[in-house]
């Protein structure tokens, strides 16, 4: 069994300040972890992924995430928020056994204040 918990349903930051979106997971196997972003009325776009290589993963648009096995966390960060970062962010866990079965978190809505 696997699950993923996004600890904040809404996060509000000022433009130019750091972003932290929190994600905790549980998995019976060595998981793959992903962050996806969904802009209003758009599909989902992959930001970054962890698949057992480097624990610090860099993604698109300046985002990065660190896999911490001891804390079962995969928090998403960005040093400086931009207005265009306002969107819904989903943390996703995959158990990588055979055919991929993924579980989505409930999403975190990021608001960026000018």
């Amino acid at each position: 069994a696997q699950s993923v918990t996004q600890l904040d349903s809404h996060v509000s930051v000022s433009e130019g300040t750091p972003v932290l979106l929190r994600c905790n997971y549980s998995s019976s196997y060595s998981p793959s972890l992903f962050w996806y972003v969904q802009h209003p009325n758009k599909g989902l776009q992959l930001l970054l992924k962890y698949t057992s290589a480097a624990t610090l993963v860099k993604g698109i648009n300046g985002f990065e995430a660190e896999f911490k096995k001891s804390e079962t966390s995969f928090h998403l960060t960005k040093p400086s928020a931009h207005m265009s970062d306002a969107a819904e962010y989903f943390c996703v866990v995959s158990d990588r056994r055979g055919y991929q079965k993924v579980t989505f978190g409930t999403g975190t809505k990021l608001q960026v204040i000018p």
Binding site: S32, K42, G43, L44, L46, T51, F90, Q100, K101, G107
Partner: protein, 114 residues
């Protein structure tokens, strides 16, 4: 060059009608998925097909019937539509043979049942 495309983008229909949503991917992937995103943005997997064979069926009512004529297409037919079927439906594809598989999402089909 759209990687995963869905038609229609919007679908408004009456209760009790039967409707279909089409999905096509040009990525050469073997596996395709259907997800349902509810009004609270929660994403839940419905079906997964690998090389035209059903591999995941997540307790979806049998009014929903996926059909995969070839591995590049996965269509979703819904019989006797109900109000609760109103949601955004996302198609996705991936290549499970690769350890670092990533799911690529279509733009979504916004279904409104009146």
């Amino acid at each position: 060059d759209t990687a995963v495309s869905q038609t229609p983008k919007y679908l408004v229909t009456q209760m009790g009608n039967d409707k279909s949503i089409k999905c096509e991917q040009n990525l050469g992937h073997d596996t395709m998925y259907w997800y349902k995103q509810d009004s609270k943005k929660f994403l839940k997997i419905m079906f997964s097909y690998n090389n035209k064979e059903l591999i995941i069926n997540e307790t979806v009512p049998n009014r929903f019937s996926p059909k995969s004529p070839d591995k590049a297409h996965l269509n979703l037919h819904i019989n006797s539509l109900e109000l609760g079927d109103s949601a955004v439906y996302f198609c996705a594809s991936s290549q499970p043979a690769l350890e670092q598989e990533t799911q690529y999402f279509g733009p979504g089909t916004r279904l409104l049942v009146l």
